[in-house]
Symmetry: C2
Amino acid sequence: MTEEYISLAHGNGGRLTRELIDKVFVQYGQHPLLDTVNDAATMSLPNQTICMTTDSFTVQPLEFPGGNVGSLAVHGTVNDLSVSGATPLYLSTSFIIEEGVSMACLIRVVKAMAEAAHKANVSIVTGDTKVVPKGQGGGIYINTAGIGLKRTHTQFDIKRLSAGDHIVVSGPIGDHGVAVLLARDEFGLDSQLISDCASVYPFVEAIDTIDGVKFLRDPTRGGIAMAMHEMAQATNLSIRLNEAAIPLSGQVESVCNMLGFDPYYLACEGRVVAVVAPEVSEEVVRRWQVCEHGQNAATIGEVLPRQEQYHCPVSLVTHIGGERLLDELEDDPLPRIC
Amino acid sequence: MTEEYISLAHGNGGRLTRELIDKVFVQYGQHPLLDTVNDAATMSLPNQTICMTTDSFTVQPLEFPGGNVGSLAVHGTVNDLSVSGATPLYLSTSFIIEEGVSMACLIRVVKAMAEAAHKANVSIVTGDTKVVPKGQGGGIYINTAGIGLKRTHTQFDIKRLSAGDHIVVSGPIGDHGVAVLLARDEFGLDSQLISDCASVYPFVEAIDTIDGVKFLRDPTRGGIAMAMHEMAQATNLSIRLNEAAIPLSGQVESVCNMLGFDPYYLACEGRVVAVVAPEVSEEVVRRWQVCEHGQNAATIGEVLPRQEQYHCPVSLVTHIGGERLLDELEDDPLPRIC
């Protein structure tokens, strides 16, 4: 690492995050089974293949329209298992609570967790609680780890991507990011917008028997732009999105215009992106549109051979027909939301 | 909960921790599979029984003689699986890193994790990294969750405890707690003491075919006193320890005498306590004494019918023959070490 100290940008899901993982966690923590590409690791037990994933949730504020850190911690891990081709079964949960947090807030968070787990049909089976002194925490940090049973008929694999594939998204992007930003009351903006925080498992289940469905990803930290970068980097392909096709709520669009944010980098917590063979993209869209929260599902882009003329493998055809590069996140252009 | 706000004592492993778990996490997060008594939850997959556990590690300072937060995070979770009767297999790891942490320190922590995992024969299979702003973290917090395969021949169950059982410990107590305290340099004390931080799996494997071995626990936060309280509360029995029999290094003893700490409440991170039928305690001690770090293994107490004359079910026969009650931790009598 060229940096001597950790900066906030090491946590933004962009280039520095990737370097931190590659140059510290992979290099010094190397284990042949460590999976840094997929959202969950896949392991074999005797007669059984399971997936395991983990995520820590450090969202500020702890509560926002449409959820709180508790429901988010359930959905985040359920979603990582779902897009990995597993049926989510069991979660562990670990709380790092800052001295001085109100019991009422903690209870709301725990309740939201339980409700989210119930709705997502997963069991929280074990837990841990630590309390840290005031000034050494962020209210409530929650880690969830999850185990799912690998569905034998799914073959999601980033290596199956090829030029010509279509990119499909299950709904409007950026709702979670904007809902959290506005919940901070820093901008004096009022909005009816609520986070999209939800399980994406129903979306996965709706399409996972379609053979041409090649890879799924939930575009959380770093938004769809960084999800596309991960795919492009892992495959040496390029990806071109079509701005006019990307579903975006009017509220997200106006907040982004007003505050100068780019919605393609904003986190979703209940959306899923699929890379599919071109001949099945209409079928995927059709199945998703009848799912709850899926009415705006759309094909939003395509996979291309690597476009060597550009320094960046992810681009966007804009409303006026130009092509704009969607660079990797570098520094922290957005307020931190996770 | 009668308390309106979280205090540090909610994290000390004593009465308030237990109440927080019972009155918040169990009450509001209730799920029939949530296991708040054992160190790991046991779940069935088709043809397979696995155990899952989780723990977040918030030790200060991050590095101490004998380990750091990375090795601790591996051993803590390996040990919870081990005492639950499982062979530890897979770990997830999630870092919450505070802005400004030095890369060199982070690398030492990741390296120590990898070494500990290698030595304990577990695979770190998935991970996550978050960065939080300066003043909202404690340097590096690490969560590990772990999966182990339930060993079919083990029958560890707190419900098997009965009056007459013996309590056996695998080595001297309090080394980890004192090593961490001294690493803070607050007391101006110098010592050669190193943390006992290590996998206890070899101790478990050495005795788990002995039928009279009923229950195991690693006495971490809250020390052996709180481990005994958990057993006494879950069974409505009493436990009497014998001060003269409890192995204690000279250094731990003198630090405790000097600073007024009670070693029975200090955390161990590489010791295990077994509750065994009286006729097998000698055999357990014999097998443990030939394990690495086991030369001081000893029978240190016994299980009694509930002693109704005392308000507290855990007591200690002192060197001079008196009986002293080892109360549940109430407020924070010890510097926080986890």
